[in-house]
Symmetry: C2
Subunit: 117 residues, 2 copies
DNA sequence: TTGACATATTCCGATATGGACATATATTCC
DNA sequence: GGAATATATGTCCATATCGGAATATGTCAA
């Protein structure tokens, strides 16, 4: 077997930088293909292909508008990524001291009991 | 050019499910290769190769301990992913209504003016 | 219909992948 | 030294990728 297809899930689709940039460009407003291609500085066919991948994993939607097709963001598919990566938030500043982690765990337990902001 | 190497960055390294599972298993405690292989239900060579990738992108560290090598998590490399995906948090519940987005934008502006909890 | 424009698809080549298997390297113990 | 254990590396294969270039499809307007 080779590497998993880019259309397997959001993780694979978004591993490609240009596709990440496309999603960022789609925040807030829809855009036609050519506008995206120009913004990214890549060819139109390549842009269409990236959009196809994003469409297949459901991160993007198309809407026909005359002779152009407006692409819009559907960020819901990013939620699994969000959940997964947020699970590591507490380890950013890890300095690889085992005892340190114990302390951290204890702190979390305290937190679980009473405090709220 | 083919697809970017898995060792290019965290995004690519983590696109592979087994590698994600490895990182999860490494939360909190270090583990030797064989333990990881058993936990994942994959062969030892495959596990070593996944660990190599994770090491090359800096998501994991090795520590020699007698005849075994203990792998530990270094989550700092996941921060770029975190930053990127968190930027989409506000779009989870997007229902793709343009007007809806305008409303959302206005709300953000209100927020910017006077703070409320 | 013809032409202009916007977008999608196909063909090509180079490359790196993940998995299985065999084997190499390294450490410990006798 | 030699055996046992733990880990890393190398080879094989099938497959999907990204990129470019050419071309197909689709829509509008006169």
């Amino acid at each position: 077997m080779a590497r998993a297809a880019t259309t397997t899930d959001a993780f694979n689709a978004v591993a490609e930088p240009q596709r990440r940039r496309i999603l960022v460009l789609l925040k807030g407003r829809e855009r036609p293909v050519n506008e995206l291609a120009r913004a990214l500085g890549i060819t139109q066919p390549r842009t269409s292909k990236h959009l196809r991948v994003l469409r297949e994993v459901g991160l993007v939607r198309v809407r026909e508008a005359g002779q152009q097709r407006l692409y819009g963001l559907d960020a819901r598919g990013l939620q699994p990524m969000h959940v997964w990566v947020v699970g590591f938030e507490q380890y950013w500043n890890e300095n690889f001291d085992r005892l340190n982690e114990y302390v951290k765990k204890l702190k979390q337990k305290e937190h679980a009991d009473g405090s709220r902001s």
